[in-house]
């Protein structure tokens, strides 16, 4: 009976992993800006997660546990390859007109470039907070630093991005402004 329960639990966990695969890939891509590498990182993280599934204490911590494995894979990669500064290269050979699609691509490229210019520790924190939507406590657990460090990294990352992205007076290409009335 225990074997059956174990098999069912294992199957369920794999399903949970599969549901999160896309988000993991997106986050990995936000760190490395390389689709093949992001794929490899996610693949490795999934493999390690399945192999070490018995170490997962509670299902409620699955997200932070998985992302922690992913970030460890990423750090391992950086250590081995010695690449601490990545070049960011977005190739855009699509038609450069003023269609909505092109405008959208311009914005995405610009934001990604700005994020790519951040130091890696800031990049990781800001994407985990702003893209993956983790709380400060969860990020602290994933990145393995105190919550205060998460706050200061997030502050520095956003300051930097704000200067790069929202300085409208110096920007001729794209005019973006968030408006809210409430």
């Amino acid at each position: 009976m225990k074997i059956v329960e174990s098999l069912v639990a294992s199957f369920c966990l794999k399903q949970e992993f599969a549901l999160r695969r896309n988000k993991l890939y997106q986050i990995a891509y936000s760190w490395c800006h390389d689709s093949t590498l992001a794929d490899d990182l996610v693949q490795e993280a999934m493999y390690k997660a399945i192999k070490n599934r018995s170490k997962l204490r509670e299902l409620s911590t699955l997200d932070s546990w998985l992302y922690r494995i992913l970030i460890n894979c990423w750090h391992d990669y950086l250590r081995v390859s010695g690449r601490h500064v990545e070049l960011f290269d977005v190739r855009d050979d699509r038609i450069k007109d003023h269609s909505d699609m092109y405008q959208k691509l311009q914005i995405v490229d610009r934001v990604r470039s700005s994020i790519a210019s951040l130091p890696m520790n800031l990049r990781e924190v800001v994407t985990l907070a702003d893209f993956a939507g983790f709380s400060y406590a969860q990020i602290a657990e994933i990145v393995d630093v105190p919550v205060g460090t998460v706050m200061s990294r997030l502050f520095r990352a956003r300051q930097n991005l704000k200067e790069q992205l929202l300085d409208m007076s110096n920007d001729e290409a794209i005019q973006l402004k968030l408006r809210r009335v409430k």
């Binding site: 896309n22 890939y25 689709s35 914005i107 706050m151 956003r158 809210r180």
Partner: protein
């Protein structure tokens, strides 16, 4: 209210919902009072939205490609099933639609406003149209809305980009345009007089209801268009791609 009292670290905590209720409420009050604080919060939120937006569609992963190629047939059946559900949804929606959230869904939050911008970001000198929907006469909210309209006008003028703002009032919002009630008449009149871009609308139905409720004629500013309901005005603009800002 001291703008400098609120550091960017604190504003970060606020937008990330990491402040306790008391501090969050204090900051919310301060935002209502001080446009500079509001602007700083908006900028941080904009950065957050931009980061979130930037990676929603990364290059497709190889894993994804393999999965898709293996599941073509099941996708066909899923597509047929989804089409049936969609048809059912359309029929049910059509038979039950009302003015309200269903009509203007998806347009009311800052993130959606941003997404709209992001997806339709203007190249230089291409105009932008806004609906400013007033459904309340709350003084703080109305002031924020008028500040917002002023900011839009100023920034679009500065960049020499055409702009159109339709201020559409309904429910209690029509009080804002009533000459015998509104504290903002002078300000709105000045805004309309100085800017061809701004047009005022008061919902015909809301005026009729207010008249029945109060037993007297409802007198709105002479510049106000009153021959249509908000139910007609808002959806037709949304269909034309206007940006919707709800107050």
């Amino acid at each position: 209210m001291d703008n400098k009292q609120y550091t960017d670290e604190k504003l970060n905590l606020f937008i990330d919902n990491e402040l306790d209720d008391v501090e969050a409420n204090e900051l919310h009050e301060a935002m209502l009072q001080d446009p500079q604080i509001r602007e700083r919060v908006c900028q941080l939120k904009a950065v957050r939205e931009l980061v979130g937006f930037a990676y929603q569609s990364p290059p497709r992963s190889n894993y994804d490609r393999r999965v898709r190629s293996n599941s073509g047939r099941s996708m066909l059946w899923k597509g047929i099933a989804a089409s049936l559900v969609l048809c059912l949804g359309i029929i049910v929606g059509w038979s039950t639609h009302q003015y309200g959230p269903s009509v203007i869904a998806g347009s009311t939050t800052a993130s959606n406003v941003f997404s709209y911008y992001a997806e339709h970001a203007p190249s230089k000198n291409i105009g932008r149209n806004f609906i400013l929907h007033l459904s309340t006469s709350d003084i703080g909210a109305v002031k924020a809305a008028l500040d917002e309209a002023d900011n839009l006008i100023t920034s679009y003028k500065r960049s020499n980009t055409p702009l159109k703002i339709d201020i559409i009032a309904n429910q209690r919002g029509i009080d804002v345009l009533r000459v015998d009630v509104s504290p903002y008449i002078d300000r709105i009149q000045k805004m309309v007089a100085e800017n061809d871009a701004v047009t005022l609308f008061a919902c015909e139905r809301s005026i009729a209801k207010a008249k029945a409720r109060e037993g007297r004629d409802i007198v709105v500013m002479p510049e106000t268009v009153t021959n249509k309901t908000a139910r007609e005005l808002i959806p037709e603009r949304l269909n034309d791609g206007w940006v919707y800002i709800k107050v």
